[in-house]
């Protein structure tokens, strides 16, 4: 067992876990932040995407013990004060989700990406979205929502 501290969404969590415990599992089971979803557990589906020091990362390819000294942001931090972000609002308005399992990963990926590239082309959006699998195959409306959010940010 290792004992260490994690900084998640600006709060500190004292964690006692085996070094092999994945960040996504520690977030869900130890920090009780269940908004981060766990899909494939080998870095393919993108459902567990969180931000590490502002950059998107697969939480299933990181051991929580590695994150001492890093700042982690999860989906729980995005709707600040209960108000959805522009991207969340756009996903709502464009019906950019069906079952919603992949949605937290998509929101985290694009919260970061739209900061880096605030006015992406549709091709760029589709390219980045290729890292997040949606098994409801609702990509059309997800793309529309992201472009809508990008427009609103302009």
């Amino acid at each position: 067992m290792s004992e260490f501290e994690l900084t998640v969404n600006g709060s500190r969590y004292a964690v006692r876990a085996e070094p092999r415990k994945l960040l996504c599992d520690v977030l869900r089971e130890d920090c009780r932040l269940t908004g981060t979803h766990v899909g494939c557990e080998h870095g393919v589906c993108g459902a567990c995407t969180v931000l590490v020091d502002g950059r998107p990362a697969r939480a299933c390819l990181i051991y929580a013990v590695q994150m001492q000294g890093s700042s982690i942001t999860t989906i729980e931090a995005i709707a600040a004060g209960g108000r959805p972000s522009r991207l969340q609002q756009a996903l709502h308005e464009a019906h950019g989700l069906q079952c919603g399992f992949c949605t937290p990963g998509i929101v985290m990926t694009f919260e970061a990406y739209l900061k880096e590239n605030p006015r992406p082309s549709e091709e760029e959006v589709r390219d980045v979205l290729s890292g997040n699998l949606c098994r409801c195959t609702g990509y059309q409306n997800i793309v529309a929502a992201i472009l809508k959010a990008a427009d609103a940010e302009a």
Binding site: S2, E18, P19, R20, L22, D25, C40, E41, H42, G43, V44, G46, T49, V52, R55, P56, A57, R58, C60, L61, I62, Y63, V65, Q66, Q68, T109, Y113, D127, V128, S130, G131, N132
Partner: protein, 278 residues
């Protein structure tokens, strides 16, 4: 899909990391971005007893310029390579290939050193390092040594690095004035490893002929293949046919050897035409 238990080490200096490798030998495995090792450990294809995390080694993510090369630290991410103005200007083939790796959230974690040391025969960075004639710098208990990329890759996921060595940086020659390049890969889905990938650099003379042609091929064999033995002005069709004949792909259940050969020829021709038209 949970990794086997391991002991976690987080050295603060290169000397400390080397000491851990010396102590634990082949039981120890280095982790940087974890984008290749992570899946292998989750699937228990890799079960290192000692995991040595390099992420606290300060200053290993640099991108520096000197007269004829760009020096890049092993911990520089694919995203950093793809977006660095220095890399884009002086080693545009490297930047372009890095941009095609995996997905956004993979590129922000995966590292140059990790990809080279992992040595997947279909990966972008081993192919580009071999094509550009990069030099790989490894630190070990006997000091530092420089290894030409052409002699670095041994076979599938195997390199000449010793168990007690750490890949610390890579020296990539700058593109010559007027040099053109292309990187093309074929994979079934965006972000997958290539079935075949091709990288090329060349100059175009006043008659429009290719000179100083270097053609790298990934995915066709167990390590990158680099061809440079072309006559000045050799036509893309002829180069592509030579490339097809030069490779000896394995028969695999899902990809017949003849299919990879065909891809080598098609991609080589397209890459040359693209580079010459640029």
């Amino acid at each position: 899909m949970k990794p086997a238990a391991f002991r976690y080490h987080r050295p603060r200096s290169l000397a400390e990391a080397l000491a851990l490798l010396a102590e634990h030998g082949p039981q120890a495995k280095l982790i940087a971005g974890g984008q290749s090792l992570g899946p292998l450990m989750n699937m228990r294809l890799a079960q290192p007893a000692e995991l040595v995390d390099l992420n606290s080694l300060a200053g290993l993510d640099f991108v520096n310029e000197n007269e004829d090369a760009i020096e890049i630290g092993a911990l520089a991410t694919h995203h950093a390579l793809a977006t660095s103005p220095l890399v884009r200007k002086s080693c545009p083939l490297l930047a372009e290939a890095a941009q095609s790796i995996g997905h956004y959230a993979i590129r922000t974690r995966g590292t140059l050193g990790g990809s080279l040391a992992h040595a997947d025969p279909a990966a972008q960075l081993p192919l580009v390092a071999a094509t550009l004639g990069a030099e790989i710098v490894a630190a070990g208990p006997r000091g530092e040594r420089r290894i030409p990329a052409a002699g670095f890759f041994v076979s599938l996921m195997s390199t000449v690095l010793e168990p007690d060595e750490i890949l610390v940086s890579v020296r990539v020659p700058k593109a010559a004035p007027g040099e053109r390049h292309a990187y093309l890969q074929f994979s079934r889905r965006r972000g997958d490893f290539a079935i075949v990938a091709v990288a090329t650099t060349l100059l175009v003379d006043k008659k429009g002929n290719a000179r100083n042609l270097r053609l790298g091929i990934g995915g066709a064999e167990d390590k990158p293949v680099v061809l440079t033995d072309f006559a000045s002005g050799e036509k893309p069709d002829a180069v592509a046919r030579k490339a097809r004949e030069a490779v000896n792909p394995a028969e695999t259940p899902r990809v017949p050897a003849v299919y990879r050969r065909e891809l080598v020829e098609v991609l080589a021709r397209r890459a040359l035409l693209e580079a010459m038209g640029k």
